[in-house]
């Protein structure tokens, strides 16, 4: 197999927890800041409340993000923070995807 040629295994090795577009967007946003409020995350990703909650729960279950709950002037504020595992998974996913994509100019 030539260099750059993709194998089915390489594609299957992609972390599906990260590969899903909504979760990829969530992790990308979280990786760009230290802590992100639910409202901003919802608005920037364009997800509905329920959808966002569902995806963040899945990411939290595998340890890719941590949920933080606090009160600001008696109003509950939910924020998220990417974990080291989440950051590592996102970095690995970028590397894998870059290796899978065809080089510039290749049909």
């Amino acid at each position: 197999m030539k260099e750059g040629e993709t194998t089915p295994k390489a594609i299957l090795d992609l972390d599906r927890m990260v590969h899903e577009p909504a979760r990829l967007a969530i992790l990308t946003v979280l990786a760009s800041a230290e802590e992100v409020a639910f409202l901003f995350l919802q608005r920037v990703t364009g997800l509905s409340k329920g959808n966002l909650s569902s995806h963040t729960q899945k990411l939290e279950a595998v340890g890719y993000l941590a949920t933080l709950k606090a009160f600001q002037r008696r109003i509950p504020v939910t924020s998220f923070r990417i974990t080291d595992d989440g950051r590592a998974a996102l970095r690995l996913y970028h590397q894998q995807l870059r290796a899978l994509l065809p080089k510039e100019g290749t049909p």
Partner: protein, 243 residues
């Protein structure tokens, strides 16, 4: 979702977090405007010579930086409440620069305080007995520079804000320093009394330098604050529409 989309998401988040950590924008512009207006008022012979010699007005003016802090807080609450808190990733270089500015502010104020106290202790006030009714300034005015320092570490979150605060406090020093040193020279007098000698020349040059610094920094604060406000609006416009 394509790679450029992910880049845009990351950039939007970083920009929004950077702004959220400061929430200055229009408040910075307002600080610059207030400083410029007051500096121009100080330069006006009518204001400086005839009207703004009253102790009461000076006492009001020295509260100006605190008025700005209150306005800044109000602007942040009303205009920049946004979409919840987003903490930026730690930026060591920015933190170093931020502390340089805040420490610079502290040194700047302390230098003025020491100059004021030195002159006060040297009995320079006695040179101008006709203005003796204005002296000595009350103790709280002598402590004013310390009061300006107190909120700095908690309230000034960005470099732009620290600059605007320095400009505004510098502006108030324009009023405090004459109060300390000269107890206001006679109305409409173009130069300091000869008795002040070299000290008078130096303090006069220092005042002109301070006024120029305030005008330049005030203008920069206005431009930067206005630009930052528009950048914030651009971030909000760039966010996807709510579904």
């Amino acid at each position: 979702m394509t790679t450029p989309d992910l880049d845009v998401l990351g950039a939007l988040t970083r920009d929004y977090a950077a702004f959220q950590s400061r929430k200055s924008g229009l408040a910075t512009a307002l600080g610059g405007l207030m400083a410029i207006l007051l500096a121009l008022a100080a330069l006006s012979p009518d204001l400086m010579g005839a009207r703004v010699t009253g102790r009461l007005l000076v006492e009001y003016l020295v509260w100006m930086p605190f008025l700005w802090l209150a306005l800044k807080w109000g602007v942040g609450r009303v205009l920049y409440r946004g979409l919840g808190p987003v903490k930026p990733s730690p930026d060591a270089a920015y933190e170093r620069r931020r502390w340089f500015w805040i420490q610079g502010l502290a040194l700047f104020l302390l230098a003025f305080l020491l100059a004021g106290l030195y002159a006060f202790a040297s009995g320079l006030m006695q040179v101008n007995p006709s203005r003796a009714a204005l002296c000595p300034p009350p103790l709280w005015m002598l402590l004013m520079p310390f009061l300006y320092l107190l909120p700095a570490p908690w309230v000034l979150r960005g470099i732009e804000e620290a600059r605007a605060y320095v400009v505004l406090v510098g502006q108030c020093m324009l009023w405090l320093v004459p109060f300390f040193l000269l107890s206001f020279w006679p109305p409409r007098s173009a130069s300091l009394p000869a008795d002040w000698g070299r000290f008078g020349d130096l303090s006069g040059i220092g005042m002109v330098g301070l006024i120029l610094l305030i005008l330049v920094w005030g203008a920069l604060a206005m431009i930067r604050g206005w630009r930052e406000h528009h950048q914030y609006l651009a971030i909000l416009r760039a966010l996807p529409r709510e579904s």
